[in-house]
């Protein structure tokens, strides 16, 4: 069994707790234990917080990493925003001694020192690279045959590519393979790699523009006959789910396209009930989707 400190971030535990619950439950099927990570905070939000002060953003991210260093555990997380903050803080401080010294000078004020002794992993990376699609496939009890999935990778999982390990950010395949391992079909749609529109603090600064971008994505997904949007970022999830309600109010466009985190889709395929995956917390009703596959 491999144990990780489970970094929750904000939106998963505080808005869509089904994402948190499904990650823990589905990971146990692969002998991965996601443990309570005591005292962790907001990563902090890279776009909004990093925009105010990059050094403070790195220092607050490093504070979270240092808590896990003290326990000697690697970090697993389920949000692309958290991934940007913690993965980048971790590898930048490891790679750049001058930056490490600068951030450690800030951390000295709280008697903390970044050592660089642990790894920060996105759960989708662990599933693909450590567990592998074959084992994921073996865990399936309810194959999702005939389900059209519009995959949304989310920007900060892949970009900037020179600060990541996934290779191409233009035409990646690993997430598609993990969806296909469940028996579902990953549909090709226009501008698949486009941003959801929420990041960088734009959703809270100018929501109409954030939603306009989201609207274009949703339109492109429905044009490809998608039954569901699957993503690995609770902030994209919120934008794509709650955003549909806001888009209906503001622009009158209706999609009714359910949104799931990959761990929730995996949970359905592993035979878990919609209730234990927290699907009832969604704004957009998942019933039509469940009727199609269960």
């Amino acid at each position: 069994m491999k144990e990780y400190n489970f970094f929750l971030g904000c939106i998963a535990p505080n808005r869509y707790p089904g994402i948190e619950a499904s990650a823990v439950k589905t990971s146990r099927k692969f002998d991965i234990e996601l443990s309570d990570f005591k005292g962790a905070s907001c990563c902090p939000a890279p776009g909004a917080f990093g925009s105010m002060d990059v050094d403070a953003w790195l220092a607050l991210g490093a504070r979270n990493i240092c808590l896990s260093e003290k326990e000697g555990k690697d970090i697993a997380l389920i949000c692309n925003g958290c991934y940007k903050s913690l993965f980048e803080a971790n590898h930048r401080l490891k790679a750049d001694p001058a930056l490490k010294e600068k951030i450690n000078a800030i951390l000295a004020n709280i008697d903390t020192e970044f050592q660089g002794t642990i790894e920060v992993r996105h759960l989708i990376d662990i599933l693909y690279n450590d567990v592998g699609t074959e084992k994921v496939k073996e865990s399936v009890e309810v194959p999702l045959t005939g389900l059209n999935v519009a995959i949304h990778y989310g920007c900060h999982l892949l970009k900037p590519k020179f600060d990541r390990t996934f290779g191409s950010s233009e035409r990646p395949r690993f997430f598609d393979e993990l969806v296909e391992a469940l028996g579902a079909t990953s549909v090709e749609y226009k501008e698949k790699m486009m941003c959801c529109g929420a990041g960088g603090g734009v959703r809270s600064y100018k929501i109409d523009l954030a939603l306009d971008m989201c609207n274009e994505k949703l339109y492109n997904m429905t044009q490809a006959n998608a039954d569901v949007i699957v993503n690995v970022c609770p902030f994209c999830y919120l934008q794509l789910d709650r955003g549909q309600v806001e888009i209906k109010e503001k622009f009158g466009d209706v999609y009714d396209l359910p949104v799931l985190h990959y761990n929730q889709l995996l949970g359905i395929a592993q035979g878990m009930s919609p209730e234990e995956l927290g699907l009832d917390a969604n704004e957009i009703d998942v019933e039509p989707l469940l009727a199609k596959i269960l």
């Binding site: 535990p13 505080n14 808005r15 005591k38 917080f49 105010m52 403070a56 900037p160 809270s204 927290g278």
Partner: protein
């Protein structure tokens, strides 16, 4: 010490008394690496998903930063970048234009030109440790899932919040927050 700057009669006519050659150095120092290498090809603007629906023009921002036009810090469109990094991944000069924009936003924050929506997020982190804190309705949803009402974060261990505020204090952000809250009352 800011240098005298390059005087340009055209800019003086437009009310721009001088250009600040240190601006681009500040941008590079704050993470916008190699920003001076920009040769204005426009791949960034062409790749930007926000561009077609707003006034955000990444190439223009890069040009203004390189010319030392500090008024770029007053541009409200500076805050329309969703930080998707498409421009950065496609830049033929390997410039992180997104990081240059973030660096300019950092400089704007120093001058109290940051939107209050950002300051509110900082306020929430300062108070609870979370940018998006828990809610009563969400606590019920958590319990139904077999999870504790509050996650094992600063919500369950508020004694860790003082360290967060110490970092906000020593980096000067807490002061900016307090001053801007007072200015906007």
């Amino acid at each position: 010490m800011a240098s005298e700057g390059i005087r340009n009669p055209k800019h003086e006519q437009l009310g721009r008394a001088k250009l600040d050659p240190d601006l681009i150095k500040e941008v590079e120092a704050r993470g916008g690496k190699n920003a001076q290498m920009c040769y204005q090809c426009g791949t960034c603007t062409a790749s930007c998903p926000m561009g077609p629906r707003s006034g955000l023009r990444v190439r223009t921002i890069m040009r203004k930063a390189n010319l030392g036009m500090r008024e770029v810090l007053d541009d409200p469109d500076l805050w329309l970048c969703t930080t998707c990094y498409t421009c950065s991944d496609r830049c033929p000069r390997r410039i992180m234009a997104t990081d240059a924009i973030i660096a300019l936003r950092n400089l704007a924050t120093q001058e109290h030109k940051v939107p209050m929506s950002m300051i509110k997020i900082m306020g929430s982190i300062s108070k609870t440790g979370h940018g998006v804190p828990n809610s009563e309705g969400n606590k019920k949803k958590r319990v139904l899932l077999g999870l504790p009402e509050n996650p094992p974060t600063t919500h369950s261990y508020p004694e860790y919040i003082k360290d967060i505020n110490k970092i906000l204090e020593v980096t000067g952000l807490l002061k900016i927050k307090e001053e801007m809250e007072a200015e906007n009352q």
